[in-house]
């Protein structure tokens, strides 16, 4: 490269102007409660021309691999991983797309040009990530032995109860103060958590024989590097004005917890339960990437500017001890309302869990024994029903009411405008009470399906195969006979909101109620 980027960058930065035909208030559309100085920093100094050259190079390297992978089929990927990717990819592509929307919004609200520039490139990055994930999804759909589930992945991101966790997170990011979005998304999620998934689990993808996903993850994360820098630049810019300190603190208090429940819990579940050949536990990954690298290597150093430990961090740490296992009880317990085949853990893995999480068996052993006994469609026993039905869902994070452990929930409820509203934790409750209108509108599973027969719920969600009967989800990889909606109907399980006050009065109206 002949010309100096650094010098050119300084020159170009001065070519910014305030238009005379529109007022600042009209130009920036939405107000922010943060104070933004005129000058900001941009550690990457990226020009559009270099940006495109760089991204083109990334694309040609990645798509060469994708092309080769579709020609050289026959590597035997691990079924558990390939089935888990149905849920993972559908949610990831939706999260990335909404991140792109959030960046566009931030670029309209935030004035300093260095930050705007970084956000605008991130819009393009996030569209790239959505496409990369959709292409991985398409590749898997064509190459994997059971495409069912991949084919409805995008629809499922919009209607699955489990995907509600990620929808709630993305909607929160899209509707909170746009500067808060930067602190929550770029500083918390992208800096603290995205590494665990995209870098940490890229090894698991490679070991599971899914080279396409390993490459997808690492090429995505290479853009994430700039996103972390966007977050850092935004934060450093804000720290120049002391009036921002309490606002930054408030954002970190909230997003440290929201990021944990809305993103890290899902990652932990994935790391511990979708990876067959285990090396590092989810908890060890959290220690390394989150506590050592993020909190130890970065966050703690903000103390000199008056930024304190996030309010709910002790709860995050306590929750992390059991988060993946509790999330697994939910995911496996509610298997018929998902869209992949399940591969429950075996004896060898149970031993591994007991070693990595001492006490694991005493808290979760019973669930797994019950699960193993109820996988046969002919026996007509549904683990979802036998263990007491689905729990209430938290109005803020949309996780069930069973955290940190099903036998020790920190959940609570409040009455508001004639409704009973549930929270998984004091943190989510407090976040709700700070801004109730922000979270009230999100419809939970029960707002939609209370009173329905589970079989009708599955049909309504569209999680049946081409014959219109066989479920996409199966409780084991290769059942003796595949479960159908008729098997579910025979189990006679009516979805019943634990928050319902009057028996028989429900929000929904099942087309064919199981209860006479």
């Amino acid at each position: 490269m002949a010309r100096s980027l650094t010098k050119a960058y300084e020159r170009v930065k001065n070519i910014d102007w305030e238009p005379s035909y529109i007022s600042a208030a009209d130009k920036y559309v939405e107000a922010t409660r943060f104070y933004l100085p005129k000058k900001a920093l941009d550690p990457f100094k990226t020009f559009i021309r270099e940006y495109f050259l760089m991204e083109r190079e990334k694309e040609s390297r990645h798509y060469a691999l994708l092309e080769a992978a579709s020609r050289l089929q026959g590597s035997n990927p691990e079924p558990r991983w390939m089935e888990g990717m149905k849920f993972a990819l559908s949610n990831l592509s939706a999260i990335e797309y909404s991140a792109g929307r959030q960046m566009g919004r931030m670029a309209r609200v935030v004035a300093p040009m260095e930050l705007r520039q970084g956000y605008m490139m991130q819009v393009l990055d996030e569209m790239r990530h959505t496409q990369l994930e959709l292409n991985a999804l398409r590749h898997h759909m064509r190459s994997w032995q059971d495409p069912s589930g991949y084919d409805i992945a995008l629809k499922a991101a919009g209607n699955s109860v489990g995907a509600g966790i990620f929808r709630a997170l993305a909607e929160d990011f899209s509707t909170c103060d746009a500067v808060e979005t930067s602190l929550g998304l770029q500083v918390l999620i992208e800096t603290a958590y995205s590494n665990i998934f995209f870098v940490g689990l890229s090894s698991a993808a490679a070991q599971s024989g899914d080279q396409v996903m390993a490459s997808t993850m690492l090429t995505i994360q290479s853009d994430e590097s700039r996103h972390m820098a966007n977050g850092y630049a935004t934060l450093m810019t804000l720290l120049q004005d002391d009036r921002n300190i309490p606002l930054i603190q408030e954002a970190f208090d909230k997003w440290s917890w929201r990021g944990h429940m809305g993103f890290e819990v899902g990652l932990s579940l994935f790391a511990d339960y979708f990876v067959k050949h285990k090396t590092e536990s989810a908890r060890e990954m959290s220690q390394r990437w989150l506590l050592d690298d993020f909190y130890g290597g970065f966050y703690k150093k903000l103390a000199k500017y008056g930024i304190k430990e996030p309010r709910w961090l002790p709860d995050v740490i306590r929750n992390s001890e059991w988060a993946s296992h509790t999330a697994a009880v939910y995911l496996f317990g509610a298997w018929p309302v998902f869209y992949h085949r399940y591969d429950p853990i075996d004896e060898r893995e149970m031993e591994w869990f007991e070693k990595k999480y001492p006490g694991w068996y005493s808290h979760y052993g019973k669930f797994w024994e019950a699960y193993q006994q109820m996988t046969d469609a002919d026996a007509g026993m549904l683990v979802t029903k036998e263990l007491g039905g689905l729990p209430a869902f938290c109005q803020v994070c949309q996780l069930p009411w069973i955290f940190p452990r099903p036998d020790a929930s920190t959940g609570s409820t409040i009455e508001r405008e004639g409704r009973t509203i549930a929270f998984c934790s004091p943190a989510c409750k407090s976040i709700f009470e700070n801004d109730p209108n922000h979270y009230s509108g999100f419809k939970t599973f029960y707002d939609l399906y209370d009173g329905w027969d589970l079989a009708d719920v599955i049909v309504d969600l569209g999680y049946v195969r081409e014959d219109g009967k066989t479920l996409m989800a199966q409780p084991v990889l290769e059942p003796r006979r595949m479960w159908t909606v008729d098997d579910i109907r025979r189990c006679r399980y009516e979805v019943t909101s634990p928050l319902r006050k009057t028996a028989g009065v429900s929000a929904g109206g099942s087309p064919h109620s199981a209860v006479p």
């Binding site: 890229s202 993850m217 450093m236 690298d293 970065f298 703690k300």
Partner: protein, 103 residues
């Protein structure tokens, strides 16, 4: 560590995760020559380089190793992640552990 509680300690380690391959190996070779404290680890799809306090990737040295021109945007193609504070210049990429607020 499995039986211990999780904890947070302030650290001054900086580093990068590079997509595995020829370029990552060249960078690792350059770093291990100039930073005796650097820790290089190889994972199935990526390579990790960590060092205390500060590390500078000199793109000319990497270019010499590779035997072809090499610049910052190309290095960023394989840099999947980093920790520390980053600064990208024409001929080098610097990671440092200190946080400095611009005035």
């Amino acid at each position: 560590m499995s039986t211990e509680k999780m904890w947070i300690e302030e650290r001054d380690i900086v580093g990068v995760k590079l997509i595995a391959g020829e370029e990552a190996e060249a960078a690792a070779a350059v770093i291990s020559e100039s930073y005796p404290d650097a820790v290089i680890e190889r994972y199935p799809a990526y390579l990790s380089i960590e060092a205390p306090k500060e590390v500078v990737f000199d793109l000319r040295q990497i270019s010499e190793r590779l035997g072809r021109p090499y610049d910052a945007p190309t290095f960023l193609v394989i840099m999947s992640s980093y920790h520390g504070r980053i600064n990208v210049d024409d001929d080098r990429i610097t990671l440092s552990s200190e946080i400095v607020r611009p005035e």
